[in-house]
Amino acid sequence: MRIDLQNVDIDFPIYDARTRSLKHRVLGLGPPRVGPAGHHRVLVRALRGITMTLTDGDRLGLVGRNGAGKTTLLRVMTGIYEPVAGRLQVSGRVASLTNITMGMDMEGTGYENIVIRGLMLGLTRRQSLERVEDIENFTELGEYLNLPLRTYSAGMLVRLAFAISTSINPEILIMDEMIGAGDKAFAEKATKRLERMMASANILVVASHSSETLRRLCNKAALLRQGELIAMGPVGEILRRYESEN
């Protein structure tokens, strides 16, 4: 398994109401442009010249202030943003645990949602069905799994979403902050399950503001600042540097 980025740039075009409009584009209507460079799009460079290689066994923690490009970099690795320039190679089954309730159907029953969420996580129907027992045991929802999700409490919903999302075994696992579930008693069980999943992944990439979490989970860290990779190396060293800068 391998993630390889060479000089990856990500630019976000920023559109205002006028550049968003086909009418303005085609007819050239609207008030005269103020300011320079009418036809130049405004670009925000989210990542600049990122070069890094991750291989089996790497557990990378991403650190940096808000807006440093951590989430964007995770999305690049997941395949959501394709690089504007540079090259990117990802080989391995990727899963991203960001929004664990994404795509859940409030009208569907718990069992139906196990299959639905599974489809979005890249499982086949059969693979999802094989995981039902494990999810039943973990969530302890019992008969509730036969009821539509709208009857669930917030805690029950998170428990189910968490159980489904952590029932897969990706080769490359990508996480934006740690996810957790439920009350204190449950949280411990959830952490254990999550850490088992992380341990079975060949490569882990996690962005977090918690140094303690990163020290525990990672062996490497990368420091981002304004879209640039400032430093990458052993987790302790990078975190010390990051903390001393803040």
Partner: protein
């Protein structure tokens, strides 16, 4: 090759790898996106079914509600316009019933197609699903909604002008051809609407005008002279005639076939080129 994609030997793993483009040609990637989307048919089915279900969620009449409201619309329009135009109901009502329901399917596909990526923002920004899933979801959703109205068509046609089996099959073929076009429409207009946010309302207005220029509430036979040219060149009329005429025991004109065939080919080629060029930009525009 700078990046590799696993072969599809292992059917069990849908997302064996998410692979990111660098040096692969855009055409190759666009083709693979569409191919990959077809492998997600179960997800597409689920998403569109979920969309339909949300419309009749927990209402007393449930699925019937959609059908009843369309039936009322057809019944009242049929009586009023039949009287106004002084038409024979046995001719007018089947024409109107098929026309309105098929038009509703066209309009829903095109209008919702514009929003197919915008509405899926929460998905597209979280997981790297093939983009082709989303236009397919819209087309399937329109087909499912249309299937609700088939009950009305069965009743109206059984009373006034029972079609032949061949006619029904030909009409289904017409619907299938429309669905094939609905996919490129969703892909192209969805992509353009993600970039240009005023496109969807513009398309909506154009469709409203097109509704009146298409023989839905009026009959082809009531138009003469210069206006008839309008009818002959109207692509909506061509698509509608492919679905409706066989049900009403006419043959669609050769001209309708040619227009539809032309639109299908040109539409797909143009869409494929656009999709290949801008596929990777869609998530940036959301």
């Amino acid at each position: 090759m700078l990046w590799e994609r696993p072969t599809y030997e292992d059917e069990a793993q849908l997302s064996d790898a998410v692979l990111l483009p660098t040096r692969r040609s855009n055409y190759w990637l666009a083709w693979h996106d569409l191919f990959d989307a077809s492998r997600h048919w179960r997800l597409i089915l689920h998403l569109s079914w979920q969309d339909v279900r949300q419309r009749y969620r927990r209402s007393a009449l449930g699925p019937l509600w959609l059908t009843v409201s369309v039936a009322v619309q057809i019944g009242s329009l049929g009586l009023v316009y039949g009287e106004l135009f002084n038409l024979n109901l046995s001719v007018y009502l089947p024409h109107l019933a098929v026309g309105l329901t098929v038009w509703a399917m066209f309009a829903a596909t095109i209008n919702d197609g514009c929003l197919c990526f915008i509405a899926a923002e929460s998905f597209l920004k979280q997981v790297a699903l093939p983009k082709g899933i989303f236009p397919a979801r819209v087309v399937l959703r329109s087909l499912i909604t249309f299937a609700h109205d088939v009950v009305i068509l069965v009743v109206v046609l059984a009373i006034y002008s029972p079609p032949s089996v061949l006619g029904v099959l030909a009409s289904l073929l017409g619907i299938a051809i429309f669905a094939v076009n609905g996919l490129w429409i969703g892909l192209l207009f969805g992509l353009l609407s993600a970039r240009f946010r005023d496109l969807a309302p513009i398309v909506g207005s154009v469709l409203q005008v097109a509704f009146f220029l298409t023989p839905v509430i009026w009959l082809e036979s009531s138009i003469h002279g210069r206006m008839a040219v309008l009818l002959q060149l109207n692509p909506f009329a061509a698509f509608l005639s492919l679905v409706r005429d066989p049900l009403l025991s006419h043959m669609p004109s050769l001209q309708s076939f040619l227009i539809v065939a032309g639109i299908t080919v040109v539409g797909w080629v143009a869409t494929f080129l656009m999709f290949a060029r801008f596929r990777g930009r869609i998530t940036y525009w959301l």
